[in-house]
Symmetry: C2
Subunit: 325 residues, 2 copies
């Protein structure tokens, strides 16, 4: 019986790393995740990840054969495949992720930006099928974007295109300090930590323990905030509203430059549904030209969980292999 | 003797319309300009423009033959060739510029956005020769941009890409009303009228007549402001500084999304040289990722006057004719 070729698709986010084994048709045969260990040496983290992927191979089926690794990573340069001083990981200097995987496995590896991987996933399997112009906005520990123009993910002159999270956000004080060293970057307001900080500030301002009683003590988590919003907690709803308004205004700027068919929001925060999408949509439409208003769709990822990232990284790997063959 | 094929390149800006006769090699054989008559019916303005171009043909040489019209216009949709409710002209509804020229002349005509025409001009003949990733920012009555990615001018899903002038500007109150109906658009601060308004506000604030004495009475013009800056007028220098800082911050946002090799500033305001370029460069670099700082060139148009617009419009017309042939 012929062996089935699989590619390991890996999505290294600021907090969680997801990975899966993906066949030629884009089916995820097996999948798992680990916390992203930004605090240990990158070589040790790659060892750990490689062991977990091999364990997944062994437990899946003996008729499978691993072809290589497609890796999407926050802060990775899509042209060079190198991660350099990633703002959300403590890895220092240049980390050659692809060659670390290859030196362990003897197999080829491709590294791309995590947001570009998500864009490839949405284009091939998700919400952006048959679209030529769209952008995927990844919302997590940071904010990233994968921008597709005329059916191609743009990478720019140095492979750094799509760094939407570090654009200056209009409609803010611009004082929040970003991991990149600048102040007022979009992601300091609209990433998950940015949202939670806004909720904390609103609680401190109001001096109250939160209408729902859910936000009274200790850390606020994304899940807690969402539960509070469901219970009509005014602090929680206002935190989503402010965050969504800042994000929607910034998305309008991106859309004025690129004129997309749709904007796809990606990441756990999108589970908040209308609490996030309504203010984003309103601010986006307010910022657009009259001729674009109501014309640009705002969509949630068309793939469950974080599948777009691992599917996209695997599909970019296969495309590169075909090109080389 | 064989006739030389010429194309009429036309650049319809918010204030001035430039036009010229351009040969196959990109030489401008003859050129002239008229004030843009945004207050009269578009059909009458096209009549006037057509007459002036025919007069230019007659006065140039009998061995020339006109092939058609390449028209760049502020607010034009590069995909449809239609101008729709241009914010800086009083033309209402949809103006089919190309068919107006064709119905007068019987010759083909192509309409594109004026900033995209400038980008084509810089790419073929100016500061962006041999570049694959750059943006031209046109500064005039409004602000436009032509964005080139992988050697192609991007137009987006609806032909509206590059509407940089209507992005929301960070670092402002966001209260200035724009011709597009929104508040706080970049062009309300960094167009020529935006710069002059800032100078006026600074004069009113300081209560003084301007250090140089040049800005005391009546209207402030761009030329007057520049002369005042040359005489070290603090109000004039501060007006350029504030304007350049807002523009540079917005350019950094554009560069974070597209990662260009260079940004090219285009339009009469660039004559202000260091008074404008220094604050733009400083704010741009402050807004970029550390890895991009000092890597993105900030250039003035590589063509004198407004040649890029008319050369670019003509070259886009020739490219379209070749494609159809």
């Amino acid at each position: 019986m012929a062996k089935t070729d699989l590619v390991a698709g890996i999505d290294i986010g600021g907090t969680t790393t997801s990975f899966g084994l993906i066949d030629r048709q884009g089916n995820i045969i097996a999948r798992s995740s680990v916390p992203t260990e930004g605090g240990i040496q990158p070589g040790r983290f790659v060892n750990l990840l490689y062991d977990r992927i091999m364990a997944l191979m062994v437990s899946s089926s003996s008729t499978h054969r691993l072809k290589g690794f497609g890796i999407g990573a926050a802060g990775a340069n899509s042209k060079t495949g190198i991660i350099e001083d990633p703002p959300n990981l403590s890895w220092k200097g240049k980390v050659p992720l692809a060659s670390l995987f290859t030196s362990l496995s003897g197999l080829p590896a491709l590294v791309t930006n995590d947001a570009n991987a998500a864009a490839a996933g949405e284009m091939n399997y998700g919400a952006a099928r048959r679209m030529s112009h769209f952008a995927v906005i990844t919302i997590g520990t940071g904010i990233g974007s994968g921008v597709v123009i005329d059916g191609k993910i743009i990478t720019g002159e140095r492979g750094l295109a799509g760094e939407f999270g570090h654009t200056r956000a209009a409609g803010t004080t611009g004082l929040r300090r970003c991991g990149c060293g600048s102040d007022g970057c979009l992601e300091t307001y609209t990433s998950v930590p940015g949202l939670l900080l806004t909720a904390r500030e609103l609680l401190d301002e109001s001096g109250s323990s939160g209408y729902s009683g859910l936000l009274s003590t200790g850390d606020i988590t994304g899940e807690l905030l969402y539960q509070a919003a469901l219970k009509r907690d005014r602090v929680a709803i206002e935190a989503y509203r402010r965050t969504g308004t800042i994000l929607g205004t910034a998305i309008a700027n991106l859309a004025l430059i690129t004129d997309p068919e749709a904007i796809i929001l990606f990441g756990g925060m999108t589970n908040a549904g209308k609490y996030l999408f309504d203010p984003v949509m309103e601010a986006m439409n307010r910022g657009l030209l009259a001729r674009q208003r109501g014309e640009i769709a705002l969509l949630a990822s068309g793939l469950d969980g974080d599948s777009a990232g691992i599917l996209g990284a695997a599909s970019l790997f296969r495309a590169e292999m075909r090109q080389k063959a």
